[in-house]
């Protein structure tokens, strides 16, 4: 009871190691939420096929269409969520590989950990931008 919150985030000076560790948890939580949301949305998306001819759903779809075409902020929000998901996917996967390497007792020196951290971050960003561009060229997220 009344245990201190772990880890003691506020008493540490931010470092690449701690920051990337927080990123790993955060991206994992984002991906977990995304899977949960997909689980909730999939049945509704299927239901939409059935009720989309009803006046309420037509109004809803028209409204969404209007927002998408007229409100740039809404589109930007969609793109931001899309990019966050793609980045989280790559970052969590690549950093997960780093964890598996550490479990084999490899690359555990401070230099290797720091270098690996920057490498994972750079690769995740590069792959995210590439994938997002590829998806965008197919008209997805845009």
């Amino acid at each position: 009871m009344c245990q201190p919150i772990s880890p003691h985030l506020t008493v540490y000076k931010p470092q690449i190691t701690s920051t990337l560790s927080i990123f790993h948890r955060a991206t994992g939580a984002i991906l977990g939420l995304a899977v949960g949301v997909a689980g909730v949305l999939l049945p509704f998306l299927s239901l939409n096929l059935v009720v989309s001819s009803g006046p309420t759903m037509v109004f809803f779809l028209d409204g969404t269409q209007f927002l998408l075409s007229h409100w740039n902020l809404f589109v930007l929000l969609g793109e931001a969520i899309g990019f966050t998901l793609v980045f989280s996917f790559y970052y969590h996967s690549l950093n997960g590989v780093r964890h598996l390497i550490w479990d084999r007792n490899r690359a555990l020196s401070m230099e290797a950990v720091t270098r690996g951290g920057y490498l994972v971050l750079g690769l995740a960003l590069l792959l995210s931008v590439g994938s997002f561009g590829l998806l965008a060229s197919f008209g997805i997220f845009f």
């Binding site: 994992g28 939580a29 899977v35 049945p43 996967s93 964890h99 479990d103």
Partner: protein, 111 residues
């Protein structure tokens, strides 16, 4: 579940997900981006296994591995940040139920 078993299953599911990475990408693009699974965009990622049975096994592996991995990761986060035995116990039960529900829905709609 003791700490070692928890750690072992977390790693095991991580390895399964890594091995099934291409299939995971197709599902991710399909759900998050709305790309149909038979889209030409995804063909290169699926060409290594065209048999329907193999595709089923891969998708099942991804779904099961993901949900178990997420549940175990969620448990660690809850145990670290949620204090108070009753709230923690409730959160852990809720997480298990949500994981089970999510798996069932995704299984029904994707397989």
């Amino acid at each position: 579940m003791n700490g070692y078993t928890h750690w072992k299953i977390q790693r095991l599911t991580a390895i399964i997900l890594l091995l099934l990475f291409p299939r995971g990408m197709t599902l991710f693009a399909s759900i998050a981006g709305g790309v149909p699974l038979d889209s030409s965009l995804l063909t290169p990622l699926q060409s290594f296994a065209l048999a329907e049975g193999v595709q089923w096994v891969l998708t099942f592996g991804i779904l099961f591995g993901s949900v178990v991995h997420i549940r175990l990761g969620g448990e660690v986060i809850l145990e670290d940040y949620v204090h108070g035995e009753a709230v923690l116990a409730f959160s852990l039960v809720l997480l298990r139920l949500l994981s089970l529900g999510t798996f069932q829905v995704l299984y029904l709609f994707l397989l």
